[in-house]
Amino acid sequence: MRSVEVTAPSVDEAVSIGLIRLGGVGHRHVKVEVLEDPAEPGSAAGSATAGRQARVRLTLTMEKGLAAQRFLSRVALLYGCRETSVLVVREPERIVLQLKGRDAGELIGFHGQTLDALQLLTNTVATRASGDRTPLVIDAVQYRERRTGNLRRVAQRAAEEAVRTGRRVELPPMPAAERRVVHLALEGDGRVRTHSEGEEPHRFVVVEPVEEAAAAARSDSPGKSGGGRRSRRRHHAGGDAARRGAATGS
């Protein structure tokens, strides 16, 4: 949790300085510990050095959703979004921040990149301000909701193709949260198995028919060493798969 220690001539002054250093928060959002108080005789006994100073420690104890909202509202403003507001929805296991309004869509970015970056930063800032590790999700004009629907359809199509062709299907690279949606979407489909390959940020999901593994084991034939014999297919879902993996021998 974020805290600061301040030294000043009096306790009041030290607290005021501390509140500013913590980003201009109000008194009710911090816990104050007085470490040394010059007005109190006998404290820090013996340190009768001229001009004793007050020393306080301020620790942020802001509610996580509120800390996130404060941070994100200012980002939206400086980003140039007009008439955009941040709505906090507190669910049992997560906090959702919804960006609403005229320019909110501009915070999504290419393939949700900007939104993901904002989510990481807001999580970092708000966790430090609150000490609360509840996951925090940022959405703008229902982008994540829509994207989840799309990903499920992409996963379904990939599964159909894998079963039909008997071959593995590679999906385009996507962030961890989106790969998770794909894994979960196909979890109950006994015909295929999924896993991820590659390094971040180019990690991608592979959908394999269950038969393939079985068939490969049965016909323990040449081609086993190379691995290049097995044709790999790429499934164009979002369209950005094109540059990936020159090694897969197109």
Binding site: R21, Q113, L118, L120, T124
Partner: protein, 82 residues
């Protein structure tokens, strides 16, 4: 426009470090007038925190600032002095 970008970067960086009062952001000249180049200086003990594990935090800061710059036809670069 550049001033707003600087303020955006300042807000992000100051929110992420332990010593916001020591954050200094300087804009460097670039031959290309469409490029805004920011240099961030902070308390030495805050450098690691701003960069984050595998550079994830500073990358996210760059993504947000670049995307804001893109909206107004600029390109932004952010460097942290170590």
């Amino acid at each position: 426009m550049r001033e707003t970008l600087r303020q955006l970067l300042e807000h992000l960086v100051e929110s992420l470090v332990e010593h916001p009062e020591q954050v200094r952001i300087r804009e460097e000249a670039d031959p290309d007038e469409k490029v805004v180049r920011f240099r961030v200086r902070l308390a030495p003990e805050d450098v690691g925190q701003l960069i984050g594990r595998q550079g994830r935090i500073i990358q996210a800061v760059r993504t947000v600032v670049r995307s804001a710059a893109g909206r107004v036809g600029l390109r932004a670069e952010v460097d942290v002095e170590e």
